[in-house]
Every structure is written in structure tokens, then in C-alpha cells.
Amino acid sequence: MTMSDDGRPADIVLRLAGISKRFGDLRANDDISLELRRGEVLALLGENGAGKTTLMNILFGHYVADAGRIEAFGRPLLPGSPRAALDAGIGMVHQHFTLADNLTVQDNIVLGTEKLWSWRGHTARARARIANLAADFGLAVDPAKRIADLSVGERQRVEILKALYREARILILDEPTAVLTPQESEALFATLKKLVANGLSIIFISHKLNEVLAVSDRIVVLRQGRVVATRPTQGATSADLAELMVGRAVPMPKIEPQAAGAELLVLSGVRLVGPEGRAELDDVALAVREGEVHGLAGVSGNGQAALADLLCGLRRADAGSFRLLDQDMTGAETASIARLMGRIPEDRHAVGLIGDMSITENMIAERYRAAPFARHRLIDWRAARRFTQDIIAGFDVRCPGPQATTRLLSGGNMQKLILGRELSGEPRIILAAQPTRGLDIGAVAYVHEQLLAARRRGAGILLISEDLDELLSLSDRISVIYRGRLSAALPRAEFDVGRIGLMMAGHGFDGARHAA
């Protein structure tokens, strides 16, 4: 390959050629090549696990590719150095924000832009520049505020400002809408348009087809680490893209109408006060009925985690009552709730499983005290292994065997283990918190299938999710959570994206201000 001054079209700002990267046996990226043109939005479309994030981490220098090269503005990019990427004018908005909560917006933006060895920072000048950038691109945020006091949408603006402050010419956004309300996403798209109009080039990573179609100029589709298609957005249809992305047509899960029965899980007047004295849940009332999926929508950080902790028995309500299968559980211990409820926690790695223990040890974690797994405090490991083997077979877990270390399994297989542990006892009530987050399409379908099977046999399911599409297709009813308060449940007949989106931003919650 040759440098840009001999005949290459001048408007190519970024060129990735033959990028490959393996993790153990997994080919995360396999000979990926793509080009980004000046002033375009290039969508990188692919399922979870298709290799999008790995590719961008290579581009940004978090990883070093096994093979391949990258050129930015015609100059080769030093691999493995975020600094080199930043200096080349590449900015990245990570999916998990890279912000320090205890420091101010300005601290987070300015970090690394000044000479480290200097006796003073340029506070006033920096503040003025941030204010200008924020005004120019519709990214209002107070530079003096601590990150911890910002909403998720505001934090994302800080991330974008970080890149703009460094005069980035190429901006990469990794799943930027995953944490936004539909309205916030619209505002983001407007900002992106302004950036492109100012000559920036954008790579927009997503697995959501409608967004990609709405915002991009060209689309690159990744599947299993390879580029399977590159095409202009104009003329592309979501059906085509879906098939390219997945390799086969995926039917959306459908729920069949089914009469709901008795109320299995009932919260009334529940209040939960956080460590800083702020109410994380306020006067929450909720009823999950037999044979229904009750969806809980909301922007991340509005009390979902607190609610899930309460229902799992990890925290106790400061006021109100919690009933489960007609038993009072308000002050109950975790173990007694675990006996009645199948609980799929939000964080598989940190909460659902003990990574350093074997699969067997994880599978008996909720039942090790009693027969058949223990007698007189002695554990019967043979019974435990049999139980584990049944789960591995029954839930299609791919693993070397029951003695394998859990940490080394894929996310999908970990989730199947949790499903096996929680659902094999056929609980009548199930809590599923973000059960498909970060899973590939096959595993997502499997989780949905299991939840719907439980619904068919009459279980009541509370599904907490930040993925509105998932909620709309699986739920019988949906409630919206906003700043620790819960809306009344909408029946399926009244589902409407626009309306739920507004509710997620605080509309209809009396006394609540609209989200910034």
C-alpha cells in the first residue's frame, strides 16, 4: 500500500486493512477492512459478539491487532496507543463511560489535554472553550458539576465533549443509544448531524436497525468477526440488514394472549432510602400476576437496580410491604426469597455466579444447605454433580464439564447456567433483570424462549429491561420507572413507543421535572 499523496481519493480519513484479532480460540476480528470518508456517518452494524467493540478497541489502541494496519488521514497509526489515536484526531465515546464520578465535568474533559509537567492548569480558558463547544453542538452541561450528579444522557454529552475538546476529526460512538430514551436518542442524532456538517466523520456502532437506517450514510455489517456487507444506507431495508447481520431470518418472539391469574408478587407503598439519604424507591406499587410478563421500562439509573435488590432480598424496604405468593416478605431473608422466586440478576459476572468456583459449586449455591446436597452439614458432591449435569444437558450449556471453572465460559453459557439454576425448580414467580444484555442473538433467543415457556406454564415474570423493543415484544403489561417512582401498568393494547418514551423521560409523573 502507498501513502495518500499518490492518487488515493482524498476524502478517505480512516482506513482499516486486514485487521485480525483472536482471543484464545475465538476469532473476534477476522481480516476486517473498511474505510471512513470525510463527513459521513458510517454505521457498524452487528449483533453482540460480532466483533464491533473489539475492532474499535483496536482502532483506539486498547488492544493490539494480531494482523492488519490502520491509517488515519493517510498516516499509519501506531498500534496499542490510545495517545496516538487521540493525537491522530480520533475520539471515542465508550459504551461504558470512562468518567471519574467524583470529579467535575471540566476535570474529566481537560485531563490529558495539557502538559502533565506544568505548574498550573488553565482553568478559566478551559471553561470558556467547553461552554462554546456545548453551545455550538447542543451539548448543554454544567462544567462545574460532579459527574456523579449528572444523568446518563448528560454523561454521554461529556464524553462527546471530551472528544470535541481535543478537536477530534473522527468520532466513534459505541452503542450510544443503549442508555438513552427515544427522545434523548433523537437529540443525539441532531448533534451528530451538526458534527458531520462541521466536517467530522463518524463511526456509529449499533445493533439496532432502525437507528442505523435513520442516522447513517453507509452501513458495514459484521458477523462473527467478518465484514459480510458494505452498502449505502439509501435503499437498504431492515429485513435485508437483519438477515445479513444474523445470517438467517430471525422471527421476533411473539406472545400469545393468555389470561392472567392471581397476583403472585405484590409491592405496596414501598420506599427505599439510599446510603446518602435519597429515596431510591418512593411509594412503589406493583403487582405481577400468574401467567403474565410484566415489563419494567426506564432509563438506566432510575431505580431499577434498587427495585431488583429489594425483590431479590438483598435490601429491605424502609416503608411499605412486599408480598410473595401470599406470604409477607417485607423483612425476609435472602435465602427464603430465593426459595420462592427464580432470580436472574442484572450482573452475571459479579452477582449471578462465582467465577473462580466450578460450575457444580455455582449450581448448588442456593440449595447447598439441604438434602439431597447436604446432610449434617456434609456436602454430597456426587449428588451436586448429577444435578449440575442435568442442568448442563437440559439448558444446552456448552462447557468442558461440571468441574470447569465458571469464569472461563462465554456470557451466553453463563446466562444459561443461571437460567438452569433458577428455573429448573419451576418457580411460580420469576424476576429477570436485564436478562439478555450483552448476549449474542442465539443466546437472546434462548433466554426469551425460556421466559415465555415459564409464562405458558403459569409463572408470573417481572422483566426489567432497558431494551424497549424487548419489552414491547414480550410483555403483557409495561410499567415505567422514573426517579424511583413507578407508573401505572399499561396493558398491551396501549403500548406506544412515543408515549412510553415520554414517560421514561418523566412525563406524567406528577411533580417531576422533565429530564434535562
Binding site: 471519574a100 470529579l103 502533565l116
Partner: protein, 312 residues
């Protein structure tokens, strides 16, 4: 003189400042490490190393400030070892720190014995002498309490101001604070987390070693094996007590030393209480300080969490 009057004597406070000096260095050193997200339990051993190398340099004919420099460098060397083990390798900061303390203490004893095989009682050096600051030392009370100390004590106070300024007013300080809160944020802004953290641990360890050197070169004039005597652990408690802020940590160290100086004087006028209970007081106070501050302490969020590049 009764127990209350002692509190209002300048000599008590002069002693308090003297006792506080090694603690100020050590606390400042630990604070720098922890602000960057690294717990340094090597502190007790690193102070021992500093106490020995500083003193030994002077004993071998170096001048006092050379001794301080050598102590700082030897502290930084052990800081480098601790940093290499816990930052890029991500080993347990607890276990590694204890290991560093054991190693540093053992090495010091070994080197002392090899270098001075024939001595029976520890040889003495000419330590730092008190230096009255012109004009300031004439201020009543404060002058004799604060401004008639050895140069190393003044250095301790200047260091606190310097570290506070660097941490809160310079780009480097911002990076150090940030790496203790969220290393991923630092890496995303193009700064090398590993280099930054190891650097902070080295600088912090240098301060600890100077704190040790204070003992042999200012407070006393020779080296004994157990002379650090838990001061490192006390410094760790003081970091918590000071909520990871240099100014508060300084106040904590002085308050603590004042108690210590007070109990020494109280021993002489209160009969009937065995001296061991007075000697326990600093350690008991440290535990109390930890308990009172633990809940409200705003600790660096990434403290003790290893960061491996590109791993989430």
C-alpha cells in the same frame, strides 16, 4: 504541674511537632499511593529501609542531605518493586505489601549485620540540629513550638503544601486523582495508567523512606532494628482519618502526635498506671480514628482494584 496545664505548654507542642514529623512524611507517602489507587502496605518496611540507608550514608561519611536523598531513592526503589508487582501484574496489594515489608525489614537487618559485623552497640552520627527560623521563632508560644525544629520537620510541612498544590492545582495532580478514581478514564485520555501509578507509588515510597530517615537522622542519632515500631501502620490509619486529603492528614498527624506527647508527660505525673498502657495509646487511638472515619471517608473509588489494560 497538673494534667490540664501541660496542654498549654509550648514544650508539649514542640514535642508533638517533632513526633508528628515522621508520621507526616509517611502519611503523605501513603496518601499519594492511595490517591493513585494503590494500597502500599510495604510502608513499615520502606520506613525501616529509609531509616537505615539515610543513617548509614551519613555514618559512611556522607552529609546529612545526601543521606536524605539516599533514603528517598532507596524508598523509591522498593516502591518500584511494589508498583511493578501490583500495577502491571495486578497482584493482591495486601499480600504484596506485606511481602515488601517483610523483605525490606529482612534486607535491612541483613545488610546492617554484613556491613557492621563487629559493632555491639549501634554507632552514632551527628544528626540534624534544630534551626530557629529568624523572626518567626520569636513569636511567643508558636515560635518555640513550631519554629525551633530541625530542617527535616520544616521539609515535612513544605512537602504537605507542595503535594496538596500538585494534587489539586496541576495537570499531573488531576491525572493522579483520576487514576485513583477510574483508571479507564485516564487511559481513554491517552495517559499511561501503568506508568502513572508506578510513578505515584515510587514518589509516595520515597516520602515514606524520608519519614523513616527522620527517626535516625533527626529524632535519634543511630539505627535500631525495631525503631519504626508500627509507625507505618499508624500512617495508614491517618490517611483514612484525613479522608485522603493532605491538609487533613497533616492535622491528623499533629493531633495524634500531641496525644502521644501528652501521654509521655502524663506518665510522669500519674502514678499507678503501668507504662504499657500509655504506650498502647497511639495504637488504640489509630484504631479509634479508623472507626470514627471509616463510614464517611471518601476513599478513592479504584483503590485496591487492579487495572489491566483493555480488560473490562
Amino acid at each position: 504541674m497538673d494534667a490540664i496545664e501541660i496542654v498549654f505548654t509550648a514544650s508539649l507542642w514542640a514535642a508533638a511537632i517533632r513526633i508528628a514529623s515522621p508520621l507526616i512524611f509517611a502519611t503523605l507517602g501513603e496518601l499519594i499511593c492511595e490517591r493513585a489507587g494503590v494500597l502500599n502496605l510495604g510502608i513499615e518496611g520502606i520506613m525501616t529501609v529509609g531509616a537505615f540507608t539515610g543513617w548509614f550514608t551519613v555514618y559512611m561519611g556522607g552529609d546529612l542531605w545526601t543521606g536524605v536523598m539516599v533514603a528517598a531513592l532507596s524508598g523509591a526503589a522498593f516502591g518500584l518493586l511494589h508498583g511493578l508487582l501490583v500495577v502491571p501484574l495486578g497482584l493482591s496489594q495486601h499480600v504484596t505489601g506485606i511481602g515488601i515489608t517483610l523483605l525490606a525489614t529482612a534486607l535491612t537487618s541483613y545488610v546492617y549485620r554484613v556491613a557492621l559485623p563487629e559493632v555491639t552497640s549501634p554507632p552514632k552520627i551527628d544528626p540534624f540540629q534544630p534551626w530557629a527560623v529568624p523572626i518567626f521563632s520569636d513569636i511567643p508560644f508558636l515560635g518555640s513550638a513550631l519554629f525551633n525544629q530541625t530542617p527535616l520537620t520544616y521539609l515535612a510541612f513544605v512537602s504537605v503544601a507542595l503535594v496538596a498544590y500538585v494534587l489539586y492545582r496541576t495537570p499531573l495532580g488531576l491525572a493522579v486523582r483520576m487514576v485513583g478514581e477510574n483508571p479507564a478514564a485516564v487511559e481513554a485520555q491517552g495517559i499511561d495508567v501503568t506508568v502513572l501509578r508506578i510513578g505515584a507509588v515510587m514518589v509516595g515510597s520515597a516520602f515514606m523512606a524520608v519519614g523513616g530517615a527522620f527517626l535516625t537522622m533527626s529524632a535519634f542519632n543511630s539505627f535500631y532494628f525495631d525503631m519504626v515500631n508500627g509507625r507505618g501502620w499508624i500512617a495508614i490509619a491517618l490517611v483514612v482519618f484525613g479522608s485522603w486529603r493532605p491538609g487533613k492528614a497533616l492535622l491528623g498527624a499533629i493531633l495524634f502526635a500531641a496525644f502521644d506527647a501528652y501521654q509521655l508527660r502524663l506518665q510522669q505525673i500519674v502514678a499507678g498506671i503501668p507504662y504499657q498502657f500509655f504506650l498502647m495509646l497511639p495504637y488504640v487511638l489509630s484504631i479509634l480514628a479508623l472507626i470514627t472515619m471509616a463510614r464517611r471517608a471518601g476513599y478513592p473509588r479504584a483503590l485496591m482494584i487492579p487495572y489491566r489494560k483493555g480488560e473490562r
